[in-house]
Symmetry: C2
Subunit: 313 residues, 2 copies
């Protein structure tokens, strides 16, 4: 694997005029990876820019060290992109043109002549940290901030089970480079928007339990979204709410996409297979996190789900 | 500092029949420290037991490796106890009898012939980790679980500003010893009790903003506690709620201790000195976290606080 990373380092040293692709609905790891790589390449005297579908407000500080450059692109690199589908609006322009793919999703399906995929890395930024050391990149504060943001957000600030001892050692090295963990942790993990607060308040009121309290269900209706003033993109993270309640083995979140059309997210304990549960409704996913779609009124959809839960618990 | 830690190691090796004191309203760090030290001493062939004011349900797993032993105590060690006042019901029995005090609070006021206080340690368990290495203690899974619980809970799972690169490296070493981070993180950071959920729901309804939304106030009345069925000991962690809202510089939590008698907790941004704010009402604390008591009806107390906020913001 080290050899392969050497090949990536060699490739980057040999090429110039980089466009770095990040995935749509961008998170801290894809943006941290993209901006860190862009800064590293510019530091090495190369031309580079990051291609995004837009940078959410909380992540704009990551771009600070980047110099806008005008050039004709010669090399396309994707970071933290598991599939070209995830390029969103940039897919049409870049599909089939990716020269190098760096990712940490074992399920990566990007078609590129040079690929480096390390599924043991909790965050793509872990891979970039090692790559930069190989390449002799000077890890300044701007790069350190990008890498810390990627590593911390993809691990829920080191709380998720993907966190390894290596993750923590890399984060320790990044902290020693002088990154601003106080600011980053505050923005990423400590701050709640007024809208999010209002949304949680509404959602708590929809919570129902069944199967001797081992199943919890929350419902995010169009009505609630309108009342609170949130759009679909602002509903991230809700699906973990019901599963987190003490004693709950299966947590179900209903999101009304259109009238009588619900997107279902299921999160489960190790004793319940969420993917198998969702397969009953034509969906799928992982053992602990899966999804499906069900049509019907809110009450009908809930009744179907409860009946299915009764059967498996 | 290393010399001093050597002195602690020597003291523990020379003595026997240990009673290890933890602080009242115990948290993961005092219990993790206490049980880890007890296991380490028993492993070295000594007699030892931990003295608590009761072990909350979530922490009972920490005791697993401990063998109950009958002996007459000869040596008293306190861990993570900043002041004898914090021994709670055990104060009368142990005040003036502490032989060794190991702590990470710079404000430590325990009177003991041998003291080791390291204010740079994010958790007391960091100190114990280094101590055990010095003493040649075999760090088995039980000890590792105790140390990880202490380090992770005292840093909000590595999110608080007390987290250093050394904290992360110690945590990495502990993970490599085989501790059960998945279970510990789930219990400590992912699980919410039904009561806590019901309490948050009620509290969200009490939230008020003032000073152009830069101040948020929540109120926990006796009425709410009774309705939800929670006691004072179950109200931990609430004080951080108002401060976490986007744009809020000062977050205030009112807890009704008795009719017309409120305990006030203040959490603030770096731009506001919480201790100075609380000093106006005869209280005190740290720059970012302080407290005071105010008597009066809920509306009177809120009006006093709002007037004071208007003056400083």
């Amino acid at each position: 694997m080290n050899n392969e990373l050497h090949a990536v380092a060699r490739f980057l040293r040999e090429r110039d005029c980089f466009e770095i692709l990040t995935h749509a609905y961008p998170d801290g790891d894809t943006l941290g990876s993209g901006f860190a790589l862009c800064m590293a390449l510019q530091q090495l005297g190369k031309q580079a820019r990051v291609i995004t579908t837009g940078v959410p407000k909380d992540f704009t500080f990551l771009q600070k060290g980047i110099v806008p450059q005008k050039f004709t692109a010669q090399t396309v690199v994707s970071v933290d992109v598991a599939d070209v589908k995830l390029l969103g609006d940039n897919r049409a322009q870049y599909e089939g043109r990716i020269d190098l793919c760096i990712d940490h999703h074992l399920t990566n399906r990007v078609d590129a002549p040079l690929k480096y995929v390390d599924g043991s890395a909790a965050a793509n930024c872990e891979i970039l940290f090692k790559l930069f050391l190989l390449m002799g990149v000077k890890l300044d504060r701007g790069i350190a901030n990008c890498l810390y943001t990627g590593v911390s957000t993809d691990t829920g600030c080191f709380r998720y089970t993907n966190t390894t001892s290596e993750t923590l050692r890399i984060a320790a090295d990044i902290i020693d480079l002088g990154c601003d963990t106080a600011y980053i942790n505050k923005v990423m993990f400590e701050t709640k928007t007024r809208k999010k607060l209002a949304l949680e308040r509404e959602i708590y009121d929809t919570m129902e339990f069944c199967c001797r309290e081992r199943c919890a269900i929350i419902s995010v209706t169009l009505d609630i979204c309108q009342r609170v003033g949130v759009s679909d993109g602002e509903l991230e993270g809700l699906a973990s709410i019901p599963r987190r309640i003490e004693g709950v083995l299966i947590g179900i979140t209903l999101r009304e996409k259109a009238k009588d059309d619900f997107k279902i997210s299921v999160r489960s304990d190790e004793s319940v297979n969420a993917a198998a549960f969702c397969a009953r409704f034509g969906g799928g996913g992982h053992a602990a996190a899966a999804g499906c779609s069900i049509k019907g009124s809110l009450e009908e959809v809930k009744a179907k789900l409860k009946a299915a839960v009764e059967e498996i618990l």
